[in-house]
Symmetry: C4
Subunit: 247 residues, 4 copies
Amino acid sequence: MWEKKAEWPLIGLAVVFLVAYAVPIVWPDVSPQTAVLCEVLITTTWVLFGVDYVGRLLLSADRRGFVRHNLFDLAILVLPMLRPLRLLRLLTLLRVLDRTTADGLRGRVVTYAVGATSLLILVGGLAITDTERGVDGSTIEHVGDGIWWAVVTMTTVGYGDEYPVTATGRCVAVVLMAMGITLLGVVTATLASWLTDQVAEMGEEDGAATRAEVRELRDEIRSLRAELTAAGAAPPAGEGGAAEGQR
Amino acid sequence: MWEKKAEWPLIGLAVVFLVAYAVPIVWPDVSPQTAVLCEVLITTTWVLFGVDYVGRLLLSADRRGFVRHNLFDLAILVLPMLRPLRLLRLLTLLRVLDRTTADGLRGRVVTYAVGATSLLILVGGLAITDTERGVDGSTIEHVGDGIWWAVVTMTTVGYGDEYPVTATGRCVAVVLMAMGITLLGVVTATLASWLTDQVAEMGEEDGAATRAEVRELRDEIRSLRAELTAAGAAPPAGEGGAAEGQR
Amino acid sequence: MWEKKAEWPLIGLAVVFLVAYAVPIVWPDVSPQTAVLCEVLITTTWVLFGVDYVGRLLLSADRRGFVRHNLFDLAILVLPMLRPLRLLRLLTLLRVLDRTTADGLRGRVVTYAVGATSLLILVGGLAITDTERGVDGSTIEHVGDGIWWAVVTMTTVGYGDEYPVTATGRCVAVVLMAMGITLLGVVTATLASWLTDQVAEMGEEDGAATRAEVRELRDEIRSLRAELTAAGAAPPAGEGGAAEGQR
Amino acid sequence: MWEKKAEWPLIGLAVVFLVAYAVPIVWPDVSPQTAVLCEVLITTTWVLFGVDYVGRLLLSADRRGFVRHNLFDLAILVLPMLRPLRLLRLLTLLRVLDRTTADGLRGRVVTYAVGATSLLILVGGLAITDTERGVDGSTIEHVGDGIWWAVVTMTTVGYGDEYPVTATGRCVAVVLMAMGITLLGVVTATLASWLTDQVAEMGEEDGAATRAEVRELRDEIRSLRAELTAAGAAPPAGEGGAAEGQR
């Protein structure tokens, strides 16, 4: 119940967090007031995410099990380094897309892959710009560079015109690379599944023939049986009844 | 009817556009007259593409639906930045290839993939040279560099000897990368589908055996039935007839 | 028997070897005593791995066959260049994971892939740092750089901010690249297999119907038979017995 | 007959060509005599490949068809730029491997992929060194660099520490990249096929059950038939005979 009711407010919180997180990264020279406002908003959303976590913990029957199954949520809350991952909550937005596009499993897999990829590129680009800007040896200066780097990394192209030099930046890169490999796998698997289906459709008649033959067999047996009943019922009437009883 | 009749003229237009678009990129120091001629040709093809769009719009029963389903066509017409994408109309040329190579779905998928890849590398190479040449920090100076960059990007190799530095160039790169990942997926899926079929063929005898057994069963039942009819027909002739009627 | 008993001690040895191999690479300026201790531990584990190899050789029935099937083990023992590969024995640790995660073949494949990838990145990062540090033209100076390079190589991103310049380093890179391609294949294959299953589940009812029909046929024949027996048994009792004998 | 008899001599020729092609690339400062010898050997093998082509052409029934189906062979003979591709004849050597490793289709696919990859890396490395060495802006100076570049290219890692700068070198690169993508596809497809089979094996019992049920049905019908014959044969002997005749 809590989870149902909290779903939309939490998505709203994630959007607020995204804006408050993005603004000082996109415009590094905002007025001090705006910077403070963003900080306040980030802290507020953090507190509210914490309230949600504690709420779900208190309402769960098996609290030890809850903590064990939600270690990732806990890590995102407690470790400031993992802060950008709070945006992953936006992935629940994709469930809305699910409702609109209803053309089979493959369509849903593709929708999810495209949505998750876009979100990861956006978040990865913001996070890397936040981490690397102004660091010695780094070439990532603007959000544009950061998002370009995220695309180049996720597609495993890796030109090398921009690359992270800090430990935090490299952790962001590892996440993007892992997701990039998975994305490639999803694209290929979807195509392979589609192609296999198309090829199978052409060879379908064989299986259909077998099924038709089984049906034909059944009809043959039924008519055989009807004849048998007719033949058996006539000479000694009692025996046909016995057979019916035995059946 | 419009679409059928307009198909070949539109392919011709796309070829004219390709030439007029390519010439000033391949030879940057053409005579001013040639440059003007190319500009005129590009504008003319643009107008004619627009006429085709409006014509299809007016002839369609559901005009709102037409606009909604052809947003991509509209974007290519209206946004000058997407101009190179008008060449995608050349992909319809691949339908001609379809007719010549008739060896199964996989053959057609491979033909389409090779055709689309070649076209994308050509168009991508032209577009990136057009966009990046002379820009500060860019290393793409000739069409040869541009096409080489397109190949390196689509195969996700990404040496980093050439890479786009402008926003437009990076958009071209994103399209090529997305297509490159899809290409990789198509190659893998086709190979997987072929391999699965080859492996399945070896295990085929099992299924064939079952089908043979079903056929054998049917024959057995039929002969059984013939015997039954023969046996039943002899003692009381009328009953056999009753059975036939009941069937 | 030897192999069963030696399994855990050998894993222990591999861990000791890992620590003794890693320490002087991670902290290049350890005290001379520690460096000597590490050397001693590496030599000791090497001797014990050799004892294991000789023991297995002496206990095997077909000694020539043993040598032929364990050329890789021999190479790791004899060639000092392949020393880091001794750590591959740690892969047997993954068998422990097998016991805990019992959710199907795909789960086990993923577990194995993640475990092997992590181990390879760790070992590859250590080996490349050991090989390349201080070499002219190399940019890999710390273990952090080495592990970052291993990740960038295995995911086939290849920024080019760090790359091996020595022959040994390039051999390490080739192993990582080959494993990276295999990893990508494993991820894709697992996803494809999962997706194929999900899609197949939806088309399942057809096959189930056939099976149901076959079962129905069987029941029909059985009841037919019961009737026949009843009909045949009544008029001449002896003949039914003859039929039973003939069966 | 010509093709059968010429197979081994042509493989021998390809090996001679490989050595004569490789020697001046690996040791750029060989004595002039050796260089001349290599030139002579390359010309001789070229003449003999030409003799083979003409021989096959003269012996073929449909000469126009032969030329059309062997355009690739002709191109390799006539264009000096494609000279290294003559080594592709060594791929026929892999047929020998076919005989030794007889463990199924997947084993053969993997053998072929590994063999073709090794040969391509060797030939690609030699060809790029031949083409790029001494060219302005190129960093490929030794065969070691060339082979390292070939590996980095085929695995699509693409660090960018070495890359071709000449048109010929870039053509070599395109071939290697195309093969690299195919290699990746082969690895993935083989893994996917293997995994699908493993998963299918677990669901096998269902299909086996159906087959068993069909077999059971057959036995049931046979015994039913035997009983019928026995029952029918006893009362009126002539009718059983009539049934046999009708069958």
